[in-house]
Symmetry: C2
Subunit: 306 residues, 2 copies
């Protein structure tokens, strides 16, 4: 992570186009011209502080050194969730088919855990994993992974509606279905908004920086909703399948509960990685050029942008 | 609070004593000389950002002006959740008692929603609501609200165990019970850790600042877990009580589902308020002196070189 010099300007001052910095023997000279806005208060304080985010190289390496282990942990947990779901439906409920029977229903949990949990989580993580790739490429990867998640989720949702219709079971009455549909609709809106704000070239930087914190917040909130929906689905499935024996700690009940615990662990680990300050993406030269020329880019206390 | 220009320097750069700034027509010129340390990385990023903490009075009022509405929203949603839970158990399931019967079970959902959702959420919010109180007082209020949440939750947990034991129903077999117990144990640990780190007077400031982000992250993660546990509980209760008619959209089923949606809305609103940058507690003079190691501080608008 290359260290950064961050200059935080009170919003009464507009940032001018004029910044210069250079090395002179063992000193660094920074010249900044800031345009005073019409209502600027000419009295203001100047603070210089050591930045605790981007610490000495040793500390940075220590902090980032643990990132691969956390990311590895998410992959192990996420894959375990997908595999356990697959095996659960495969060995306890007769495998997979697309014929309107119970085997078509089985496609639903597998697709939802794969799409709305594993791929969704990985799409969030790309900004932490590909720290040194160009931001444009990482954005595209983020969008592609979310698009895959969307397609796989649609297959999973069609599977359960098709099964219900075939078996004359009413749709959309359970809390699981309400939570799931809400999460899925918000996910679609978020995906389209993300595309419009961050990949559509005409969007103003000021609009991007307005929307960015909302995109990040709702992205994590929806992952939590998606996980809660999975827990509801596991519980519902266990009550339908083994209500008589669930309280006797039969293997299928324990398998479902363990899957629930692993999903929670996956969500917590993803949330931790994404919100931890020193795992944030470092500033890159080409992004700097943008941030200097545009008047606002970053929000919050650190130079970061998911 | 007068606006400030804050320059955050990576710790690889030593800060030299040479700072100059002056006003020139409607521009502000800032010249900074920074001494490069022996191990300094000559490649570093330069970021200029609008500071969101110290905004212009108008913007501060605008941003903060919406805070009471958001907080009011959480109170309406949180109280609605408590009332709906109370009415649900009261009118559909025979009210409350402490005699090992179904009426004792009914104490469980009410206490858990009151303790682990409403009071828990409010305990988190105190740092945003009492922005101008002394930090010590707000900390004590935060701890007291969490303590109330803890006591009420213990009553709720005892109620369900007592009911199960009286009715010879096995304990701790469902996913709801596993999630709930995990959340409750983590909550107890977090409460004790919070007490030790933030209210015990002997704790070092460095230890506090190490633990703070973990405390905040796990606080929100556990609120999410608590809400997911409530959703599981609602779903479980509906399957036990009205499995035969749930799919016919009977009033009790819809009431339970609506309660679930309101709980999600409460969680999202609390999460949004707590993570929104411009709702953060402003730094107070005495806190700044403790937390910010600024090496140079100049006041006034005239060119100066300290």
């Amino acid at each position: 992570m290359s260290p950064a010099l961050v200059i935080s300007v009170p919003q009464t001052l507009e940032i001018d186009q004029y910044i210069l910095y250079g090395k002179c023997s063992n000193s660094l000279l920074v010249v900044i011209r800031l345009k005073l806005g019409q209502d600027s208060d000419p009295r203001f304080g100047l603070f210089i502080q050591s930045k605790t985010m981007d610490e000495s190289p040793q500390q940075t390496v220590q902090g980032l050194g643990s990132l691969p282990f956390y990311v590895g942990g998410t992959q192990v947990l996420g894959l375990a969730c997908v595999v356990i779901t697959g095996v659960w439906m495969g060995s306890y409920h007769g495998g997979y088919a697309w014929d309107g029977t119970q085997q078509e229903f089985n496609v639903h949990p597998l697709c939802m855990v794969l799409g709305m949990v594993f791929l969704y989580g990985d799409a969030i993580l790309v900004y932490r994993v590909f720290r040194n790739e160009s931001k444009r490429n990482v954005k595209i990867l983020h969008a592609v992974l979310h698009f895959l998640a969307l397609i796989i989720s649609i297959v999973g949702i069609v599977a359960v509606f098709d099964y219900h219709n075939h078996e004359k079971i009413p749709n959309m009455y359970s809390l699981h279905s309400w939570c799931g549909m809400l999460t899925f609709l918000l996910f679609c809106i978020q995906w389209l908004m993300g595309l419009g704000f961050f990949l559509f070239p005409g969007t103003l930087t000021s609009m991007r920086s307005w929307y960015l914190p909302l995109h990040v917040f709702f992205g994590l909130a929806m992952l939590a909703m998606s996980l809660a929906t999975c827990l509801l689905g596991i519980s519902e499935k266990l009550f339908f399948a083994i209500q008589a024996t669930y309280s006797q700690f039969v293997p299928e009940g324990i398998l479902g509960n363990v899957l629930g615990m692993l999903l929670i662990a996956f969500g917590i680990l993803i949330g931790y990685i994404v919100t931890r300050e020193d795992f944030r993406r470092p500033p890159h030269p080409e992004e700097e050029a943008l941030s200097v020329h545009f008047k606002t880019l970053t929000e919050g206390g650190s130079p970061s942008s998911p």
